[in-house]
């Protein structure tokens, strides 16, 4: 019996489609470009709309958001490039619209007096809003409607709300279409109702509007941007009134918005496409989409979305009728209050992360601290790319949950930045004021600071090991996909990072021995303890991993054989951390003493417990190292905030401590009230920046799902382990469909009473792997495209 609801042949088609998509993406196009004429696009499906997602894949609420609450209550939509947070207020629909490339700032290569980078909104820059769309329906004031209900259909990628006013049921839906490159709002009713009101599209940077249908302007850094809106109605009238679009007596109303910038991922061109007029292109796209019937726009969007969303499925068990009766916000409260597992909510939380990934990471810049979603122009830490956990965590789940295609944004970003990163490193890293400079006096390759922007610029302090961690993250994508083309693409990044470390590593003789080892120069273990420590564990571990990857890559591509030998030799001499005789912890510094904060949020010295693989509780790692890592993880504690909990959860999953891992996931699912750490009503992860002020940090929305998958399936090339850390809460019954495994495989897995009952492994390029559960191990060999169903794990 095939337990999968997916038709296997359909999956095969999708796999091929994805591969084709991957190839196309390699020739990274500018972010905002003309597309095929919408009306006759080849991907315009004529299939009838897919049924709405099952209830377990719908989030729902009984209140809208408002302008002041969009971070907690706004529903995110996005097509990977443009996004919006929507209020879904019946009388006052508000969308705050972003484009991933809408950034102030620039190269930022004039260092401060301390040899580090400026970190302001003008110099380094900030991710900002592009536009603000309102659709006002004065007669539909929230105070005059009943039975308000708001949904986010994760299975279709459609947000919306419904309500009753004077006996008429009104519905509105919104989504951001990738194929049509627009945000669509569709207002309908049943019962003889009408829509009357007005639409405004404005900027948020002091633009002077002169037209209702579009605007364009440039930021002080020269980035041009523009947005356009079109409205179409059935019945009634739509008229342009100055800087407003009025609509009156409309049975149905479709509003289409497009926006973009002239950003180009090309350091040589100063990250601009001088030939692109964003306002004009937005007008063209909005007009084209508005000419397409609303149901066709929707079908096209849903089919496109499903092609990604449908690649992965999971069930963690069945929730109770009482849990199902609660709206999403109440359900988060009940889950925390009663401390009772709510498996369907937990699975939906994971799928929400996938929704955000599909909505936020396609064909443009990668996801930063807030992904594609802002509620103002002053996001904390600029909404930037933080290279010491956050951007990496954002992408842990992409491959793990069948969204390999969404990973390309990160790889393309790094590749596009590389010339600038290399240039700034060459000119600035050796600055005598830079306390992290190389003692050797030599600088090579590339490095970044803790923050990076899309203009080749770094912000705040230099972060030597950041290059290595970016590279190991990029490498994992290769391990999942096995794409040689992709490996070729990222190879220069790997090699440049190795060159940097070749110039940086210092030979030292270990005290009391004659053994010479190589260590990292003056550095800071993120983000605590001494700032001039040599040989920090974080750098030693991640560079060790980087060097290994580089050697594998060079061999696979048949390139740079001699340099690979050099790197391999360096790797053999790298110092690796010891366990402190004082604390029993894996040392974070080359010291037996705890030089930092015991419960610090970062787990940098455990980078090779997760996401790396060097430290494994399977007998391959010295027991004392595993014990030291476990002791350090234990000391770090279980009560932190979003991303810190997610990382801890993934580490506990690697240590096969299912209950600790689950507890950390549960901690992240606590409802955030009054700005406290936890999950907001809209499931955005909230970090309490200061008492009463919570801010959105999207990393936990991705890191928590990654940890959840790690609990259910561990893989590294050549090895797959089923249900390594299955908590009691999910043990009764569940399944995974299409979960990728490193080494080039996909797994379908069903379990009952904690044991696998059905296991199918498919090769998407991998040849040989072991598949293990507990002490049961199988060795399988498959041709690419072939699959095998394994039996016997359930006993």
């Amino acid at each position: 019996m095939n337990p999968s609801p997916h038709d296997p042949s359909r999956r095969g088609v999708l796999s091929l489609a994805t591969t084709a998509g991957l190839t196309a993406a390699l020739g990274a196009l500018p972010a905002f470009t003309a597309s095929a004429a919408p009306a006759d696009r080849p991907d315009r499906t004529t299939e009838s709309p897919l049924p709405a997602g099952a209830a377990r894949e719908q989030l729902w609420w009984r209140a809208p958001g408002d302008e002041g609450s969009l971070i907690e209550q706004g529903l995110p939509v996005g097509n990977g490039r443009i996004g919006a947070l929507a209020s879904n207020d019946p009388g006052h629909e508000l969308l705050l619209i972003t484009d991933a490339t809408m950034w102030t700032g620039g190269l930022n290569d004039t260092l401060d007096q301390d040899g580090q980078f400026p970190y302001g909104r003008a110099d380094f820059g900030s991710f900002t809003l592009l536009a603000r769309l309102t659709v006002d329906l004065p007669d539909h004031d929230l105070g005059s409607v009943h039975d308000y209900r708001r949904t986010l259909d994760l299975a279709q990628g459609v947000a919306g709300c419904s309500y009753v006013r004077s006996g008429v049921t009104y519905r509105r839906e919104m989504y951001a279409s990738h194929p049509d490159d627009v945000i669509v709002l569709h207002f309908t009713q049943s019962g003889g109702g009408r829509h009357t009101g007005s639409i405004t599209l404005t900027g948020t940077h002091g633009e002077k509007p002169d037209s209702a249908e579009s605007f364009g302007a440039a930021l002080p850094n020269g980035l041009r941007y523009g947005a356009a809106v079109q409205a179409r109605a059935t019945g009634g009238k739509v008229t342009v009134q100055g800087t407003r679009i009025d609509f009156a007596g409309c049975q149905e109303l479709t509003v289409v918005v497009c926006a973009g910038t002239n950003y180009a991922p090309d350091a040589g061109a100063g990250f601009r496409d001088a030939s692109l007029d964003p306002e004009r292109l937005a007008r063209t796209k909005a007009r084209a989409a508005a000419a397409v019937p609303a149901d066709a726009l929707r079908r096209t969007h849903v089919a496109d979305y499903r092609a990604l969303y449908g690649r992965f499925g999971l069930s963690l068990g069945t929730s109770t009728a009482g849990q199902r009766a609660l709206d999403t916000w109440e359900r988060l409260h009940a889950r925390a209050r009663d401390d009772e597992p709510d498996p369907e909510l937990e699975a939906a939380y994971l799928q929400f992360g996938r929704y955000l990934m599909i909505s936020g990471s396609r064909d443009s810049l990668p996801l930063g601290l807030q992904g594609l979603w802002l509620d103002g122009n002053d996001p904390d830490w600029m909404g930037d790319y933080h290279t010491d956990i956050n951007i990496q965590m954002n992408y842990w789940m992409a491959d793990r949950t069948g969204l390999s295609a969404c990973f390309d944004a990160l790889a393309d970003y790094c590749l596009a930045q590389l010339p600038a990163w290399t240039d700034v490193t060459r000119r600035r890293f050796g600055d005598p004021r830079n306390r992290f400079r190389n003692t050797s006096g030599r600088t090579a390759g590339w490095a970044v600071a803790f923050s990076t922007n899309p203009y080749g610029g770094s912000g705040w302090w230099w972060h030597p090991a950041g290059n290595a961690w970016l590279c190991t993250t990029l490498w994992e994508h290769y391990e999942y996909t096995g794409s040689r083309e992709y490996l070729k693409k990222i190879y220069p990044l790997l090699k440049g990072a190795c060159e940097f470390w070749e110039a940086r590593l210092l030979p030292v003789t270990l005290p009391g021995t004659s053994k010479e080892v190589l260590v990292d120069d003056h550095d800071w273990s993120p983000e605590h303890g001494p700032q001039d420590a040599r040989g920090i564990t974080y750098a030693q571990e991640v560079v060790w991993t980087l060097f290994g990857h580089y050697c594998t890559a060079a061999a696979a591509l048949g390139r740079d054989t001699r340099y690979a030998d050099t790197v391999a030799a360096l790797r053999r001499k790298l110092y690796l951390p010891e366990v402190s005789p004082t604390t029993g912890w894996l040392q974070e510094w080359m010291s037996p003493d705890n030089l930092g904060e015991t419960e610090h949020r970062h787990l940098s010295p455990l980078i090779n417990l997760f996401p790396g693989d060097r430290i494994r509780p399977d007998g391959s790692t010295p027991k004392d190292v595993v014990a030291g890592a476990t002791a350090l993880l234990t000391a770090r504690g279980m009560e932190n905030f979003g991303w810190a909990n997610a990382w801890r959860g993934a580490c506990w999953a690697r240590l096969k401590n299912a209950e600790n891992a689950y507890r950390l996931i549960a901690n992240n699912l606590r409802p955030s009230t009054d700005g406290r750490n936890g999950t907001a009503s809209n499931l955005f992860d909230i970090y309490e920046a200061e008492r009463g002020r919570g801010i959105f940090q999207i990393d936990a929305n991705f890191g928590t799902p990654a940890a959840m998958v790690e609990m259910l399936l561990y893989s590294r090339p050549g090895h797959i382990e089923l249900l390594p850390a299955l908590p009691d809460a999910w043990a009764a019954a569940g399944h995974l469909e299409g979960v990728p495994a490193r080494g080039g495989f996909e797994v379908d897995l069903r379990w009952r009473d904690g044991r696998p009952t059905h296991v199918t492994v498919r090769s998407v390029g991998g040849r040989t792997t072991t598949v293990a559960h507990g002490s049961t191990t199988r060795q399988i060999t498959l041709r690419p495209g072939a699959s095998v169903t394994l039996k016997g794990f359930g006993r």
Binding site: W61, R62, A63, P64, G65, D66, G68, S69, E72, Q73, D89, D141, L142, G143, S144, V145, H146, Y148, Y163, S166, G322, D327, W329, H333, A334, A336, R337, D338, D339
Partner: protein
């Protein structure tokens, strides 16, 4: 000219009867209701006869709101200069034209009528306040005459005590009190009184003192005033202590007004001391329970300063409002739109609370510039009818959390139910019928929206904007719930918790000292099926306090309980508690803070 509608009958005797009846009714009704079904707030017993003054919460206009505002253009001649004869007459005419037909009748002149633009006072030779000839060139009587000619009633204002400027070295004679001078009516040490220390405290042990009050009352009666706001009254007005005990002043005013033979409504201001409610009820027709609603800023009011305080402060006073004397929440400034300083949702919530709490409905808005939404809020006949009805004031039936439900049981068996979302973001709010004492269906009318919503089972949920509200009339069509009582003192105590005597509590005891981890667990709570039950919690709390409520040792939900006014008064609200079929425990845990004392809980015997 005296209006024929004025009764010459002194209102006082009737008032006293009503007050006694109310007090008895409340005392008796609470335990009785608990013993039976402990459903909705007890209905006030029908008053034997309507008092001549303040039979209903009064309705009208006050000058102070615009006087106090920094809104551009309102006070061109300096602070508080909005108050002028021309402006009062203009507002009178606007009220007569727009609001009178809905019941608005009082035009109240507030502070400053005896002061010039620079706030310097005028007094007559008897130490009585004298109209400023520039502010009121025609004099106060002419203004009252104009107001009466429009079929309205006139209100005037005084601070309590002998104003310092009236003292005149103690030599000013008291009118119609042969030989008495101002020196006779104050203390030798000229101790000061009132909320601003702007007056000498009057020594009522000297008979001249009453004569001075009589002379002021006579003056107002002669001018034809129907209403007096006596301001700065203590204990209250942010003052306490002997020098600020103005109960004798209020009693003297009561007596003086009675002696005039004119029914003059006496309203006390501001933030009157709850502990003296018996005095306020005995001697006056209304008492400001809180500080000024005005923000003294660029608008008339603002939500945070201090409209939103009323949701916390009104509940304790609820039981004390009734014919003859009402809890005054201060002016209702929802009519002007932008100048009010509130969102539309806030304006509706403000109007809703004032209406259901049976506060006087007097606005301080510019009645010549009401916007259409403001006019709708101020003139909704159903809402006004709720305010003016014979039903008791509404009070919270849920905890005073960010989302809360208030209700009152009406004499006809329906309920007035208001949902409030006091949070800064939109939220869903649910009125659970169990918190009204019944289960099953009820038909619901949306009062503001003039819409019958049909039958709703179990309750009604609405999406409310930030600071938003809904107002319903709910007609039960279901069955009454039965309840099982559990005395808190029979529970298991932990931490500092102790059983304490409490004469107002059922069985004479409560659990107190619930602080810093102190908790009480009520055992053996048996219900037939699992689900969320509305558990009625009777408690005592002299200030608003929060408590963590949990079942069966699970995680607690923090609920904030409104003050019951003092540590001898019991209040009750319903909190949702998730119970399992069979035997449960319910715990009230102070956590790291201070929790209310718990008297007892009543658990529905079915869902």
């Amino acid at each position: 000219m005296r209006s024929s509608s004025y009764s010459a009958l002194p209102a006082r005797a009737l008032r006293a009867l009503v007050v006694l009846a109310l007090t008895a009714g409340v005392t008796a009704a609470v335990p009785a209701a608990r013993a039976e079904t402990a459903a909705a707030p007890p209905a006030a017993p029908a008053a034997p006869a309507a008092p001549a003054v303040a039979a209903k919460p009064y309705m009208g206009w006050t000058s102070w709101t615009m006087q106090s505002s920094k809104y551009p253009g309102l006070n061109p001649k300096g602070d508080y200069s909005y108050l002028s004869e021309a402006n009062v007459l203009k507002q009178t005419d606007a009220m007569a034209a727009k609001l009178k037909k809905y019941g608005y009748e009082y035009v109240n002149i507030d502070a400053g009528w005896w002061m010039d633009w620079s706030w310097t006072s005028h007094f007559d030779e008897y130490g009585r306040q004298k109209a400023d000839p520039v502010r009121f060139p025609s004099g106060m009587k002419a203004v009252a005459d104009h107001i009466h000619a429009k079929g309205l009633k006139a209100g005037i204002y005084l601070p309590v005590g002998l104003e310092k400027g009236a003292y005149g070295d103690g030599k000013n004679p008291i009118w119609n009190a042969g030989g008495c001078t101002t020196a006779d009516i104050v203390y030798d040490d000229l101790r000061t009184t009132n909320g601003w220390d702007s007056a000498y405290k009057i020594d009522f042990s000297d008979p001249c003192a009453q004569k001075y009050i009589d002379s002021q009352a006579r003056m107002f009666a002669d001018w034809g005033y129907d209403f007096l706001k006596l301001d700065g009254v203590g204990p209250g007005s942010f003052k306490s202590g002997d020098n600020y005990d103005n109960v004798p002043d209020v009693a003297a005013w009561h007596q003086a007004i009675e002696a005039t033979g004119r029914p003059i409504h006496l309203e006390l201001s501001w933030s009157l001391d709850y502990g003296h409610i018996a005095d306020w009820k005995k001697y006056s027709n209304g008492w400001r329970i809180d500080t000024d609603v005005e923000c003294y800023c660029n608008t008339l009011v603002s939500w945070e300063n201090s409209v939103d305080d009323r949701w916390d402060d009104a509940p304790a006073w609820t039981a004390h409002a009734g014919p003859g004397g009402w809890n005054d929440l201060d002016s209702l400034n929802v009519g002007n739109g932008e100048m009010d300083g509130l969102t539309k949702a806030e304006r509706q919530s403000y109007a809703t609370l004032w209406a259901i709490a049976k506060s006087p409905l007097f606005t301080g808005d510019d009645l010549t510039r009401l916007d259409s939404y403001g006019l709708k809020l101020l003139t909704d006949r159903e809402v006004i009818a709720i305010n003016q009805s014979d039903a008791p004031p509404a009070e919270p039936v849920t905890a005073s959390d960010a989302q809360q439900v208030w209700a009152a049981k009406n004499p006809d068996g329906t309920y007035t139910v208001a949902l409030f979302n006091l949070a800064d973001a939109p939220a869903a709010v649910t009125a659970d019928w169990a918190a009204l004492g019944f289960k099953g269906r009820a038909s619901v009318r949306d009062v503001w929206n003039k819409e019958n919503l049909g039958n709703r089972t179990g309750g009604i949920t609405e999406a409310l904007p930030a600071h938003g509200s809904r107002l319903f009339t709910v007609t039960p069509r279901g069955t009454r719930l039965a309840w099982t009582a559990h005395e808190a003192e029979a529970g298991t105590l932990a931490g500092n918790a102790v059983v304490a005597g409490c004469s107002a509590c059922s069985d004479g005891h409560k659990v107190g000292n619930l602080y810093s981890g102190g908790k009480v667990t009520v055992e053996d709570v048996v219900v037939p099926s699992s689900g969320t039950y509305q558990v009625e919690v009777a408690y005592v709390s002299g200030d608003p306090r929060s408590v963590l409520v949990s079942a069966n040792g699970g995680g607690g939900t923090s609920h904030r309980f409104a003050s019951t006014g003092d540590w001898g008064t019991v209040g009750s609200v319903y909190v949702p508690v998730k119970l399992k079929a069979g035997t449960n425990t319910i715990t009230f845990d102070s956590g790291t803070g201070y929790a209310p004392d718990i008297d007892r809980i009543d658990v529905p015997t079915s869902l």
